[in-house]
């Protein structure tokens, strides 16, 4: 039987090669692991867990080009999640929680939790606040599932502007997620 690490890594690599169903599976399983992991880490701030799961997923997606296939997947995901966790604790001035022992790599895939709580922050609302050059490409391609060519026709933009718009738009979204309380 494949270990969880190998399985998730295989899914991510297939996703990075352009197989979006494998990528979907990867993100879904990763979300459950991140949730279990962050729920333990944020035992004293349970209301923050789902927001941070979403923020971490957005970071994983936006930074997926920084994954080196020779690197253990766990180390990469954990470094991203820890960065977002520390960032949140700083923003909340809860640096006292930084003194909790640092997470171990073995801890990330140890448990999985598929029960999503409600996020307090609504990413859909933040998406509405993006400028059209970012919002429309994300709306057409990522939410309505149009092809890039169709989205370009509908938005009256070039195909490359659609691609760039999706890419930059998701980064801009991550910025807003970060600065919204």
């Amino acid at each position: 039987m494949l270990s969880k690490e190998e399985r998730l890594r295989g899914l991510l690599l297939r996703g990075l090669a352009g197989e979006s169903s494998a990528y979907h599976e990867f993100l879904k399983e990763l979300a459950a692991h991140l949730r279990a992991f962050l729920r333990r880490r944020l035992a004293r701030m349970p209301e923050e867990v789902e927001d941070l799961v979403q923020e971490s997923l957005l970071a994983v997606h936006n930074q997926r080009h920084t994954y080196d296939p020779n690197q253990p997947l766990t180390a990469w995901v954990l470094a991203l999640a820890r960065y977002k966790l520390i960032d949140l604790l700083r923003r909340r001035s809860r640096t006292d929680l930084l003194h909790d022992p640092l997470p171990e790599e073995s801890e990330l895939l140890a448990a999985s939790d598929e029960e999503a709580a409600n996020a307090r922050r609504d990413i859909a609302k933040l998406l509405d606040g993006l400028p059209d050059r970012h919002r429309l490409p994300i709306l057409y391609v990522k939410l309505e599932g149009l092809s890039v060519a169709e989205a370009a026709r509908r938005a009256g933009m070039s195909e490359s502007a659609i691609k760039v718009g999706v890419h930059r738009g998701l980064k801009a979204l991550a910025q807003r997620v970060r600065s919204k309380p």
């Binding site: 930074q63 920084t66 990522k142 691609k163 991550a174």
Partner: protein
């Protein structure tokens, strides 16, 4: 938006990611910045007129190798620090070894020299300007390294900023050396290193602000 919907959205139409693109763009940015630094050096300071004669001296090549080795080690640190979960490993040794070698070479040179010659070896003719000129020539490289780091995802921002600053300082020193008349090891071990440390400190100070994501 529920987390499942977010996952759905992120995965929808996700295209293949070119794993080599970051390295390619980083190399292009470095090459462009090195050309800018060369133009800055040639336009502002001028090439060393005695460069051809200098180039037959072994110390000339020691100096070039010193800067190049530090630059390469600095860039390796940057490459590691730019990706989440990568360990620095032995990369900092690549910075320490040339420094140590130059300091040993400089100390031996100082001890072997006549006492009245020592201040020449230490200060040369340009000690008062050398570190600042190296820092100045490094500016385009510094911008390029910040741009490269911002396109990736460093998680230790202060350290990544310092490494980027150091790498830009070392490559800047390599460019500056084509103008510089100094070849004495004690001089290089002090003033060149100080010149590299200026962008290092700036990078460490600005890192948390510039590199956040």
């Amino acid at each position: 938006m529920r987390t499942d919907d977010l996952v759905q959205m992120l995965a929808k139409g996700a295209e293949a990611v070119d794993a080599r693109a970051p390295a390619r763009r980083a190399l292009a940015a470095l090459a462009a910045a090195t050309v800018c630094a060369l133009l800055l050096m040639a336009g502002l300071l001028g090439l060393q007129p005695a460069l051809a004669q200098e180039a037959i001296e072994p110390m000339f090549w020691v100096r070039e190798m010193f800067c190049a080795a530090l630059g390469a080690a600095g860039l390796l640190c940057v490459a590691r620090l730019a990706r989440p979960g990568m360990r620095l490993g032995l990369a900092p040794l690549g910075v320490a070894a040339p420094l140590l070698a130059m300091w040993i070479l400089g100390s031996v040179g100082l001890l072997a020299a006549d006492p009245q010659e020592r201040s020449i070896l230490l200060f040369g003719q340009t000690a008062s300007v050398c570190p600042f000129l190296i820092a100045l020539i490094s500016v385009p490289l510094f911008f390029a390294l910040v741009w490269i780091l911002r396109a990736l995802a460093p998680t230790q921002l202060r350290l990544a900023g310092a490494a980027g600053g150091f790498a830009s300082g070392a490559v800047g020193a390599l460019v500056y050396s084509l103008h510089c008349p100094e070849l004495a090891a004690p001089f290089l071990g002090i003033w060149y290193v100080l010149g590299m440390l200026i962008p290092t400190v700036v990078g460490a100070l600005l890192g948390p602000r510039l590199l956040r994501w």
